[in-house]
């Protein structure tokens, strides 16, 4: 899965959906995950990357990762490859 092609993502963490007009802000960790998703990385690679940058255990990462991607999906920002 990745962020839909028409969704604008800025380096500051501002996400804009041009077809609905909705906009969102994500924090630096969220921005890192969005960036990894856009590079078509698998969850294992994303976990590795995030855990090397932030202090976090496996279970917390997975819970927060699924929460976050669920939210992105609810907001219709994600598409499956």
């Amino acid at each position: 899965m990745r962020i839909k092609k028409n969704i604008a993502v800025s380096d500051t963490g501002f996400i804009f959906n041009p077809s609905s007009g909705d906009s969102y802000s994500v924090n630096p960790i969220g921005m890192d995950i969005v960036r990894h998703l856009n590079q078509n990385k698998e969850i294992v690679e994303i976990k590795h990357a995030i855990m090397s940058d932030y202090v976090c255990d496996d279970a917390t990462f997975e819970k927060d990762y699924y929460d976050f991607t669920m939210m992105l999906r609810n907001y219709k920002l994600l598409e499956d490859e």
């Binding site: 028409n6 604008a8 804009f16 041009p18 077809s19 609905s20 007009g21």
Partner: protein, 349 residues
């Protein structure tokens, strides 16, 4: 090459909490690249803020309310035209449009004033009361609705559509009701202001998206910008909005213009459901108050419409900038009482 200078008269100068489109149109006209303008304001009441905005409006005249009739209006416009030599006129209120459409031919032939307006058939057909049939005729999804003339008819309508439902005025205003008592309250309030009938409409849940555009009367869409309201006032008016990249909305708009051969400006009000279905709530046969967003997004539709009336070649706009926002603001004008006195007594300023 020298640009022509047009004298353009504009109504809808009530830049209030439920604003008329006049000032937005004037801003668009002032931004026009292909002509210069002298703006004549046409006001109904002495407290319309536009009257006192001298940077936007060169001179304002009071005109009679639509209830005075077309003859009185024509007489007043003849006088104003004798002073100002008007090239083009932008009527902007739903309630005044009928009179202006009826006078259109006369105004062009006798006074030389051009307007681009829907035909009387187009105007009547898209009326809120007729919109459901209009949707069937032109293959557009429209929430079911019926016109009622008394609160006694509310329970029957509620039985058909269930609660919540929307209570709408024939020109303006719409309120959501959750039971018979609320519906009756809204009925009384709206009918006191806008008259009868009142429309009872099925409630469609979703987000409101609008399109501001112009049709050339031959089935061609000359320009269209979809917008989503980001901040809505308690009167349901957009206080902020953003232009959208929405091909489905543009397609629906193209189809509507092609099918109806719409002539002139319009605003389409849609509700988008969670299933991505679009229901047409209203067709406003004029520019909306937020129309300056189209200029900001790269389509000066007000300029295009004047050029169309002047017989110039008008190429349809091919694109617009997505993500352009507008944020409305309010301001206090300081006005000398002499100005208020002048417009109140001699009807000119």
């Amino acid at each position: 090459m020298n640009k022509p200078k047009y004298t353009i008269a504009v109504t809808g100068l009530n830049a209030i909490d439920s604003p008329g489109p006049g000032l937005a149109i004037i801003r668009g006209l002032k931004d026009a690249k292909s002509f210069d303008v002298r703006i004549i304001g046409l006001a109904y009441e002495a407290l319309e803020p536009g009257i006192y905005l001298h940077d936007y409006i060169d001179k304002t005249y009071q005109i009679p309310f639509p209830t005075a009739g077309q003859e009185v209006l024509f007489e007043r416009l003849s006088y104003i035209n004798s002073e100002e030599n008007i090239d083009f006129l932008y009527p902007n209120f739903d309630a005044e449009l009928y009179g202006f459409i009826k006078l259109q031919k006369h105004m062009e032939e006798i006074l030389g004033i051009k307007m681009v307006l829907p035909t009387i058939e187009q105007f009547e057909e898209r009326h809120k009361v007729n919109l459901y049939d209009y949707g069937i005729k032109h293959d557009i999804k429209v929430p079911k609705a019926r016109a009622i003339y008394s609160t006694a008819e509310i329970p029957a309508a509620a039985q058909l559509y269930g609660y919540p439902l929307v209570v709408k005025g024939k020109f303006y205003d719409a309120k959501v009701a959750y039971n018979n008592e609320q519906a009756a309250q809204h009925f009384n309030k709206i009918s006191a202001q806008w008259g009868l009938p009142i429309l009872i409409q099925e409630f469609v849940r979703g987000s409101e998206v609008n399109v501001c555009g112009i049709g050339d009367g031959k089935g061609n869409l000359l320009g269209a910008v979809p917008m989503r309201k980001l901040y809505i006032t308690d009167k349901g008016k957009a206080w902020a909005g953003i232009s959208l990249d929405n091909e489905r909305l543009l397609e629906l708009t193209r189809n509507m213009v092609e099918s109806t051969k719409w002539q002139g400006p319009f605003e389409l009000e849609y509700v988008k459901t969670v299933d991505d279905e679009y229901y047409l709530l209203e067709i406003n046969p004029r520019f909306p108050a937020w129309c300056y967003l189209t200029v900001g997004a790269g389509q000066n539709q007000m300029e295009a419409l004047v050029n169309l009336a002047m017989g110039k070649e008008v190429e349809p706009f091919k694109s617009y900038k997505v993500g352009t926002m507008f944020i409305r603001y309010s301001n206090d004008l300081i006005v000398d009482i002499n100005e208020f006195e002048k417009i109140s007594t001699i009807g000119e300023l």
